[in-house]
Symmetry: C2
Subunit: 137 residues, 2 copies
């Protein structure tokens, strides 16, 4: 008999504040790093995320990819059948996090010692590349 998935109730938002609502989805140390890999670097595959310098643990990566898909920020597409392999693509809601990442980049680069600070030209290139990817589907 196929296993029935237990229906999970979405937890109620803590408040109607858009900061609180956003942090309900993004407020942890890893979610925005997976989205960074997709938005800033165009990564799409599990192994590409796993290779990032922060060395995300595989159980956390799997969990975050599943959550992001449930929340509508990414979609998965199968690109290989045996064994099954998926690629992950940003939705418009996911891609719209670019300005949040950009402000975190500026703030971290300015206020945290040892943090890399990209040039404005690098950030412009990131935006152009993302727009191209989103237009290309």
């Amino acid at each position: 008999m196929p296993r029935r998935e237990t229906p999970r109730r979405k937890p109620a938002p803590r408040s109607p504040c858009p900061v609180a609502c956003s942090l309900d989805l993004l407020g942890d140390k890893w979610t925005l790093l997976v989205l960074r890999d997709m938005i800033l670097f165009g990564k799409q595959r599990y192994n590409q995320f796993a290779e990032s310098p922060e060395r995300i643990a595989s159980n956390i990566l799997t969990d975050r990819l599943q959550r992001l898909e449930k929340q509508g920020l990414i979609v998965s597409r199968k690109y290989q059948d045996h064994p099954p392999r998926h690629e992950y693509h940003l939705t418009r809601a996911g891609a719209d996090l670019l300005p949040v990442l950009k402000e975190l980049v500026i703030w971290g680069g300015k206020h945290i010692a040892g943090s890399f600070q990209p040039t404005p030209a690098m950030m412009r290139k990131v935006k152009r590349d993302l727009n191209k990817r989103m237009a290309g589907g």
Copy 2:
């Protein structure tokens, strides 16, 4: 004999990426809400934070205020001796998180159902009020 505080080593940053560095400090569900209360609403006192609609637990609030002070995003000033009571003020590094919050507000308001969306005029007033408070010390 006075209790000696165990020296805590700062954990090494996960990478030089400014997003990862920022999330080392801000990547949880509560830190940016305390900063929201200070940056967007001008709150300064423990009871004011505790009254916010998300109902932060008192141990989490105490922990986040201590961490934010250690990290140089806020400073505390005693405003009463018996019993001792502190007010919390933003440093320049803390106040510089306004653009991050602004982008989270825009993103949450656009993409999360039930999330409140402030008008541009409200956001401009927030910025003016914050600039006044930062100039006034």
